[in-house]
Amino acid sequence: MKKWLKQNRFIAVAAACYLVTFAYSREVFWRAAHTTWGYIIEMLQVMPAVFVVASLVTVWVPREVIMRNFGGQSGLKGKLASILVGSISAGPIYAAFPIAQSLLHKGASLSNVVIIISAWAVVKLPMLIVESRFLGIQFAAVRYAFTVPALLVIGALTHGFLTRDEVLGDAAVKVGEDLSEEERIAGVLPGYDCGACGYSGCEECAFAMLRGEADASACTVACEQTDSALRDMLDAQQ
C-alpha cells in the first residue's frame, strides 16, 4: 500500500489538478491534455527500449569493459566516449537516468556518468540542425563551443562534491539510525522493485536475505560493490 501510494503520488496530484482545471476552464484543460499526450507518446516510444538496453548492459557487459572505458582511469578517452554515448542516444533527459545508473553500478566514474547525462540532454546532432534553422548557425555553433567544455567541467566538479561510493550508498544516507535492519538492507538495494530476483520488490528481497532465504548476490541489478556491502551487513547480523 505504501509502495503503491509512493509510485502513484504524482498521478494522484495531476488528476486532482486536471479536475480543478476542467471545472475552471475547458480550453486550458484540453490544451494541457494535448501537450501531455504528446509527452506520453514520446515516453512510450523511448522508455521501453531504454530499459531493455539498460538491463542488457547489466547482464552482458563485463564490469572490466565498463571500468576500462568509463572508469576513473579512463582519462580523456573516457570523457569523449561518455559524450559520444550521450549524444547518439535518443529521448529526453529522464531516459538517460536508467542507462547512466547501470553504467555507474558497473564501474563508470561519477564524472563520466554526469557527462553522459548532460551530453544526452544537450549534445545532439538533430537538435543542432533545428537550432541553427531557428536561431542561426552562428548562435548554435557558439553555444555548442561553450557547452561541450562546460560538460567536462561539470563532470570534474561533481567529483569535488561527491564520491562514487557516496552516490551508490546514498540510499544508506537516506536510511536513518532508527530504521530496522530490513529497511537498511532495502536501502542499499537499487530500489527498482523490478522483481527479477524472484521477490515482489526490494523490501521483500531484503527480508528474504535477512531470513537467510536469499543470498546477498540475489539482486540482478546491483553491482559487486553493493553485493559486498550487503554481505557485510548480513554478516554483522549473525
Binding site: 504524482f10 498521478i11 482545471t21 486550458v28 484543460f29 494541457a32 494535448h34 501531455t36 504528446g38 509527452y39 506520453i40 515516453m43 516510444q45 523511448v46 522508455m47 527500449a49 531504454v50 530499459f51 531493455v52 538496453v53 539498460a54 538491463s55 542488457l56 547482464v59 542516444s89 533527459i93 529522464y94 537516468f97 536508467p98 545508473q101 554526469v114 547525462i117 548532460s118 538533430p126 537538435m127 533545428v130 537550432e131 531557428f134 536561431l135 552562428q138 548562435f139 557558439v142 553555444r143 561553450f146 557547452t147 562546460a150 567541467v153 561539470i154 561533481t158 562534491f161 561527491l162 557516496e166 552516490v167 546514498d170 540510499a171 537516506k174 527498482y192 523490478c194 527479477a196 540482478t220
Partner: protein
C-alpha cells in the same frame, strides 16, 4: 518519430535478438528486469509529464517572452535560466519558440540560458533523478548545470 528514436528502438531490438540467440535464460531475466523497471517508474513519469503539460497550458507564452526580454540583460538571463529549469519542452517546440522570442525582442543571452537549462537542468524530473541516484547527486548535478548554463549564456553574449 525521428531518426535517433528509430535507431534506439532498432538497436535495442538487435541487442535483444543477439542476447536471445546467445542465452535464452539470461535474456528472459533481463526482459523481466526491464519490465519491472519500466512499470516501477512509468506512473511517476506520466504524473510529472501531466503536471508539466498543465503548467505550460496555464502560463501564456507572453509571460515567458516578457521575462526574457526585460530591460536588464542580466535579470533576463537569470529569468531565462529559471524558466528553462522549471519547464521541459521537446526540441521541435523549444527552438521555434526560442526563435520567435528573439524576433520579438528577447535577448540572445537570455534565450541561450533558456535553451541550455531547458535541456540540462530538470526541476520537474528531479524526483526521477533522485529515484535513480539519490538526492545529493541530483542536487549537485542540477546546481552545477544551472551555473554552467549561465556561464555558457554569458560567454555567448560576449561573442555575439
Amino acid at each position: 518519430m525521428n531518426l535517433s528514436t528509430w535507431l534506439l528502438i532498432g538497436g535495442a531490438a538487435a541487442a535483444l535478438i543477439w542476447s536471445f540467440v546467445r542465452d535464452r535464460q539470461k535474456t528472459k531475466k533481463s526482459i523481466g528486469t526491464a519490465r519491472g523497471m519500466f512499470f516501477n517508474i512509468a506512473g511517476e513519469i506520466t504524473g510529472i509529464l501531466a503536471l508539466i503539460g498543465l503548467f505550460l497550458a496555464l502560463v501564456p507564452e507572453e509571460v515567458i517572452r516578457n521575462l526574457l526580454g526585460g530591460s536588464s540583460l542580466f535579470l533576463s538571463t537569470v529569468y531565462g535560466a529559471a524558466v528553462g529549469t522549471v519547464t521541459i519542452l521537446p526540441a521541435f517546440v523549444a527552438f521555434p519558440l526560442a526563435g520567435s522570442l528573439v524576433e520579438r525582442g528577447a535577448h540572445l543571452t537570455a534565450v541561450a540560458a533558456f535553451i541550455t537549462t531547458l535541456t540540462m537542468v530538470g526541476f520537474a524530473t528531479l524526483p526521477i533523478e533522485i529515484e535513480h541516484f539519490g538526492a545529493k547527486f541530483a542536487a549537485v548535478r542540477n546546481l552545477l548545470s544551472f551555473a554552467a548554463a549561465l556561464l555558457v549564456a554569458l560567454g555567448l553574449g560576449v561573442f555575439l
